[in-house]
């Protein structure tokens, strides 16, 4: 009989903090809208990481105080942001030129599914979408030098988001290098998902039970 494993999943903030700590100084990073935006709040203050927003902002800073809002300065999620000293504006073709031209070190995306071959599905949940909306996700996924995904390990109904092959419409093929979930940190290798870290108290067997794709033990 199975004894339930005792563990506490990481919170969204804890996942974001774990991911943020792995970003080296000097990297140029785009954070996808939604949960990935939280990563900016967790970069250590003594580390210079430059954030890009695809609507033409490089060197994006945190949300402004209410009395200091610049009404012309928003991020891709249409929230008010600030520009850090050294920041720059550019038009949309240049902004996506730096994405598609391979100049970003990292893009952090949310996802519905990530497959063991690095495929990502994050823009549409059906082929009969009421209003399909892709935004910049496909450009970011193929353009950034690395794509890391931040997402819950399972859907609300308990299905694994780490899959052998994506069943939702693809955003890009074979691009994801690393996945940060509420249960584990995983690398995408030529042999599929390798577990780098797990929440305290969780075993590889227990993690495998809630994961569709086969998992390999930590490689270090």
């Amino acid at each position: 009989m199975n004894v339930p494993t005792k563990y506490r999943p990481w919170t969204r903030g804890e996942i974001a903090a774990r991911l943020a700590r792995a970003i080296p100084e000097g990297w140029y990073v785009n954070l996808g809208i939604g949960a990935p935006l939280q990563v900016a709040d967790h970069v250590p203050t003594d580390r210079e990481v430059i954030f890009h927003s695809e609507n033409g902002v490089l060197g994006m800073g945190p949300a402004p105080a209410p009395e200091a809002i610049n009404r012309w300065l928003i991020n891709a999620g249409k929230q008010y942001v600030t520009l850090r000293d050294g920041g720059a504006y550019m038009h949309h073709a240049d902004s996506f030129g730096l994405i598609r031209g391979g100049h970003l070190d990292l893009c952090v995306l949310g996802a519905f599914q990530v497959a063991e071959n690095g495929d990502i599905a994050n823009w549409s949940i059906s082929d009969n979408d009421s209003a399909p909306a892709v935004g910049g996700a496909m450009d970011l996924a193929v353009g950034a030098r690395q794509v890391w995904v931040l997402m819950e390990h399972q859907t609300k109904s308990g299905e694994s988001r780490l899959v052998r092959r994506c069943t939702y419409p693809l955003t890009a093929v074979g691009v994801v290098k690393r996945v940060y979930t509420n249960l584990a940190v995983l690398s995408v290798t030529v042999d599929g998902f390798a577990v780098d870290e797990m929440v305290e108290g969780l075993t590889l067997d227990a993690l495998q039970k809630v994961t569709d794709a086969p998992l390999r033990p930590p490689q270090h």
């Binding site: 012309w72 504006y89 038009h91 996506f96 598609r100 892709v134 935004g135 193929v142 353009g143 419409p169």
Partner: protein, 227 residues
């Protein structure tokens, strides 16, 4: 003397015909030429193709233009918004054609049109359903899609400052699609918050040189709100 500044909305929008391809600047409501869009509603042109990053919010501006049945087709990357009610109604009812384009491909197709490049290869959307029907080629070991330039008959854009030659500056992230749309249309119409004398704009800060601009309408409306 060159003077691209016009005094009335009617002069600004003169000559926009039924069936025109109209490029609308802005990312959400920031940098969006709201006055010109309202003017286009009044103007009455029909059967339009609209190229815009988004597909309108609520029942005003672009959403109102859609609701009035003036738009045959919309080309955009992100038709979702906080309140995309009009677009979704029309789309579900099969009353509007949608061409969904990845945002970077959209910007580059516009830029290409303005720069005399008929088509280009990009890795964006390879292996996805948006690649359907597109020519593909492997170059140096990587697969690419051929994407064609996207030109407009008309571009409606918003600027911060303008002079009588049509030189434009923008404010912060309100630049977005405006400069590439200005390049990509036969007739480019800008609304500007400030009109300044020729020579007053720092040439180092002019983001759209007047060669791309046909008409300028002074439209000091104050601060935008995010939608």
């Amino acid at each position: 003397m060159i003077n691209k500044i016009v005094q009335t909305m009617a002069e600004a929008l003169a000559g926009i015909r039924d069936g025109a391809v109209v490029l609308l600047g802005g990312f959400g409501s920031i940098g969006q030429p709201n006055a010109l869009i309202d003017g286009l509603i009044e103007h009455g042109a029909n059967n339009l193709t609209i190229v815009s990053n988004n597909a309108g919010v609520g029942r005003i501006g672009l959403a109102r233009l859609l609701e009035l049945g003036r738009v045959r087709k919309i080309v955009c990357s992100y038709p979702r918004s906080v309140d995309p009610v009009v677009f979704e109604e029309l789309y579900r009812a099969g009353k509007i054609e949608l061409e969904i384009v990845p945002q970077g491909t959209l910007a580059e197709r516009l830029r290409a049109a303005g720069a005399g490049i008929p088509a280009f290869f990009t890795a964006t959307a390879v292996g996805t359903k948006l690649a359907a029907g597109k020519e593909q080629r492997e170059i140096a070991g990587r697969r690419y899609l051929l994407e064609e330039a996207l030109a407009g008959d008309v571009a409606l854009i918003e600027a911060w400052e303008a002079d009588r030659w049509g030189n434009l500056t923008y404010r912060s992230s309100a630049r977005n699609f405006n400069p590439v749309m200005a390049m990509a249309a036969t007739l480019t119409i800008a609304q500007a918050q400030h009109i300044v004398d020729i020579g007053a704009l720092d040439p180092e800060k002019i983001a759209t040189p007047g060669i791309y601009v046909s008409r300028v309408l002074h439209m000091p409306y104050g601060e935008p709100t995010v939608t």
